[in-house]
Structures are given as C-alpha cells and as structure tokens.
C-alpha cells in the first residue's frame, strides 16, 4: 500500500479536529497540457481538507504522468541560489534530471559508478500527522505554471505566523509549488514548477521507463533497519518541536541514521563513532566552509544547501550530522535535545588512552 494512502486513512481522522479550510470547487481545467485525469487526478471535492490535499499530492507525484521543469531556490545567508531541474513522470517512475529516479519505494541516484540505490523498501511507520504540530488552512491559490491551485497555508499550532505555503494543482492534485518562509515571511527555500504538461510523451518511446524497467542499481547504499545499537548511540523518541522518531537505520561505515518527522518535514540525525576532522561538503570538488553557529552554548558548523540545512558537531567520541528540509530554527531546536559535550582536552585524551589499555576491546 502506498504510504500516502496509508497516511490518508490516519491523517484524515486527526485532521478533523483542526482543519477548517474548505476547498471551493475549482473551475474545470481548460489547459490542454493538463496532466491526465485519473482516479487520483479528479478535482478535489468541496470540503477536501488540507491533509487530504497533501496526501493526494504525494500520491499524484508517483502516479500521474507529467513532464515539466522545476525551479529549486534556496538561500544561505544573503546569497540566493536557484537551479532548474527537468522532471518526468510516467509508468510510476519519477525522473528528476538525469541523476535521480523514484520508482515505487526505490530511490536511485546516478553517479560516476552507475546507479546507486539510496532506498529500496516501503516503510511501516509514517510519523505523526501534520496536524499534531501545525494548523492548516486552505484557500484559493494563484496560478502556478499556468494552472489554478489550492493554497494550503501552514501555521504553527497556536501561532499566527505563517511558516509555509503549498500550492496544489486543482486538477491533477500535484504539488506545484512549495515555499518555506523565514521569520519575516519571505521564502527561504522553494520548489516550484515553471512549466508542466501532461507528459504523455514521457511514457512512450524506447527510452520510456516503468517501475519494472527502472534502472537496476550498480551498487546499493540502502541503510538497513537498526535493531541493535551499541550504548554509544543515543536513540531519541522525539526531538525538537514535534519531531518524532520514525525509523533508525544502519548505513555503511558504521553510520547510524535516525529519521524524525513532524508530519510535513523530515529531520535526519547521523551518528558516526570518531572525532570530527571536518566535513566533505561537495561531490563535485566545490567546497563550502559553512558558518559557525552556537547552539546550547556550543559552537558548531552549519551549512545551507538546496536540500536543506545541516549542522555538524562532535560529542563524547561521536560525530553528529543533522540534516533537515525544515527551517533552520527547527534544526537548531532539535540539536539542543541531542548530546553536545565539548571535545575532551589533551590531558583527558591521554587519560582515556591509558584507561583504554586496561579495557577489553
């Protein structure tokens, strides 16, 4: 069962208590390039809640054929970045550029060594419904890529500050634009279609892919569920503001990933045994130095990228890297709940080395 469908069943129950936005029936789409209208692509019924719209968007991204270009914008410090990514979806295979493929529950990325599997299985735990943390409202949205939308407004529960805007295609149900807002209400990160068509050509021809014919991986870096972890790994059931543990995984190189969700965003905490030497910041040889930040009285290194925000630090012989697609403040709040002792001084390291002589390894 598609995770989106499962969440729909759960999320709709929870949504009824908070969601008040009603979706007016949108006018029929006249655009000739509209994605094909399948069962999930029909216009939302009046009264469709925000949670239903978001679940429908998740499902549509995996099932609707379309062809378009997505503009990814992000900001680090005062520098604004943007990049365009061609997107194709057909036969249940989502292709982003020439390097990223989503096929069912498989996630593959292309590198110099061929296709690499990053993920390959469905998950049972879906995390909290977004309404556990957020208050959602729906209103008529502007056109995005020439298509009318429903606008989902995301507020922190109990707050009137707008955190995020999501624009959902009335006809296909696709999420056409997503904007994370900073404390001044300005977009700090966005993903938006600039053009979109029905993608009928993407599912045809000799190069067309289906879930069954998606590229086979040359190698796999898919993390395995972590059932038994050593005492040095610190598992948390929840961190920050509303982030609940959804899964813990072991990856290559002794890296343990804890994945948290607040219902709209993910936050990963990677733990590696060792001492922090620095951070490899680029696949292509470009390096970013990051910036120093202070969290809970400790100095750490923070980075911004198209993917989101990251922070790296060391505590008690473990190196932590936290990555999120959520706003920076969410990440900083979560890091406060994680270990962050200062690195040991030279004397302490010598003492630890001597003590280690008498310890069975």
């Amino acid at each position: 069962m598609n995770p989106a469908c499962r969440r729909l069943a759960v999320g709709c129950l929870a949504a009824g208590t908070v969601i008040s936005g009603l979706v007016p029936a949108g006018p029929a789409l006249a655009a000739s390039g509209a994605p094909a209208a399948g069962p999930a692509a029909s216009a939302p019924a009046p009264g469709t809640s925000a949670v239903e719209l978001l679940d429908r968007a998740r499902e549509a991204a995996e099932s609707q054929p379309f062809d378009g270009v997505v503009d990814v914008e992000w900001r680090d410090g005062r520098t604004q970045h943007s990049a365009q990514v061609p997107v194709h979806s057909a036969g249940g295979v989502l292709r982003l550029g020439d390097e990223v493929v989503g096929a069912g529950a498989r996630r593959l990325i292309h590198s110099s060594d061929g296709w690499l599997t990053l993920w390959g299985h469905d998950v049972a735990a879906l995390g909290p419904p977004p309404t556990a943390k957020y208050q959602l409202a729906v209103e008529d949205g502007p056109d995005v890529a020439g298509r009318p939308t429903e606008l989902v407004l995301v507020f922190l529960a109990g707050s009137d500050r707008l955190r995020e805007r999501l624009y959902v295609d009335r006809q296909s149900g696709l999420l056409l634009r997503r904007e994370l807002l900073d404390s001044r209400g300005q977009p700090s990160r966005s993903v938006a279609f600039t053009t979109i068509s029905d993608g009928s050509s993407a599912g045809e021809g000799p190069g067309a892919m289906t879930v069954a014919t998606a590229p086979g991986p040359t190698r796999s870096e898919e993390p395995a569920p972590a059932r038994h972890l050593g005492p040095s790994y610190k598992l948390k059931s929840s961190i920050g503001q509303g982030y609940r543990l959804v899964g813990a995984y072991k990856a290559k190189g002794g890296v343990v990933q804890q994945f948290f969700s607040d219902g709209l965003h993910g936050l990963s905490v990677f733990e590696q045994r060792g001492h922090l030497r620095g951070a490899e910041t680029s696949l292509a040889g470009e390096s970013g130095g990051g910036r120093e930040v202070e969290i809970a009285g400790h100095t750490m290194r923070a980075y911004s990228a198209s993917v989101g925000e990251a922070v790296v630090w060391e505590s008690d012989g473990m190196v932590y890297t936290a990555v999120t697609d959520a706003p920076w403040m969410d990440l900083a709040g979560a890091v406060k709940d994680l270990p962050h002792a200062d690195p040991p001084g030279r004397l302490r390291r010598v003492a630890q080395a001597v003590v280690s002589l008498f310890r069975w390894r």
Binding site: P3, L54, R58, A61, V70, V72, W74, D76, G77, V85, V87, L94, L96, V100, G102, A105, R107, I109, L118, L174, L175, V191, P223, Y249, Q257, F259, S261, L264, H265, G266, S268, F270, G274, H275, L276, R277, A279, E280, T281, S282, A284, G288, G289, G290, Y303, S304, A305, S306, V307, G308, A310, V319, T321, V323, T324, D325, A353, V354, S356, L357
Partner: protein, 165 residues
C-alpha cells in the same frame, strides 16, 4: 634532681633515682625516705617495672624511604639512614648488592612504563571523521521522500549539491 623537702614524697625524683642521676647527698636522702615510706617504695617498683617492659619490646625497622638509598646516604649527618637513636630503630644501610638490585628494579619499572606509553600511542584511536554532507543529504532526502512529498524532496538532490556559503 634533689628530692623535695624532708617529709615530702619523692615524686619525679624517683626517675632520677633509678637513673642514678642524683647527687650523693640527695641520693642518701632519697634512700632514707624510701626506707620509711611504703608509698614511694611501691611507686619506685612501678616505674622500674615499666622501664623493664619497654626494654623487652621488639624493635622494628621503619619502612624504607621512597626516595631511595642514595638520597639517604646523601643527607648530611644521617649515616646510613634516618636512625632514631636510643630506640635503636633505623633503616639498615644497604650494601652495594642491595643498591644494585634496587636500581635494576627501578629500571625494569621504567621500561614497563615506557612500553605502556608506546602501546597507548599505537593503540587504534577512534577514527577521524569527515562526514560527507552531500551523501548524507541525499540519504536524508531519499528517506524523507518515502513518507513526505517525493517531488519536493527529490528535486533538490537532482541539483548538484553544494553546501555553502
């Protein structure tokens, strides 16, 4: 030490009497007093008994000093160690054989300590780690795209990842 006035008991003079430290005249007076004073006779016996008991107690040498025999020998006026005189308890001055053995022991301990330090340096330390942010970011986005919106999660990793500023 002269005894007290005639008729007084001997008191502290008993000790001088036993040590034969009284002047002849005083000793005669003490003897005369003792002859007629059963109290002083009894006290004299007690003091004498106590002295005998102390003399027959075994004598133990104290612990060797931590700073070694050479140091003791080097202390001016302390021949062979820190003797305590009358009690007769003192460290025996080591002969040349014992001194050599002691040096060998210390050398052996120094070697053991040096070996331990070398082993400590050679033991595998926790590795130095340089997290690969792009790789970890891809891993995060791939996992997040399973339960969150796949389009908005995966599109950013299709952009060549560059962490800045």
């Amino acid at each position: 030490m002269p005894p007290g006035p005639p008729g007084d008991h001997l008191g502290d003079a008993l000790s001088a009497f036993l040590d034969d430290e009284l002047a002849p005249a005083a000793r005669r007076e003490a003897e005369a007093h003792l002859a007629g004073c059963p109290g002083c006779q009894g006290e004299l016996e007690e003091v004498a008994a106590a002295r005998r008991a102390i003399r027959i107690m075994p004598v133990h040498a104290t612990r060797r000093p931590l700073w070694g025999d050479e140091m003791i020998g080097a202390v001016p006026g302390v021949p062979g160690g820190f003797g305590i005189g009358a009690a007769g308890a003192s460290w025996p001055h080591p002969g040349p054989e014992r001194s050599a053995a002691s040096r060998r022991r210390r050398a052996a301990w120094a070697l053991v300590a040096l070996a331990a330090a070398i082993v400590a340096l050679l033991l595998p330390r926790d590795p130095s780690v340089a997290p690969s942010l792009p790789s970890l970011a891809d891993t995060h986005a791939a996992r997040a795209s399973i339960t969150e919106d796949p389009l908005s999660q995966l599109a950013p990793i299709a952009v060549p990842v560059r962490f800045g500023p």
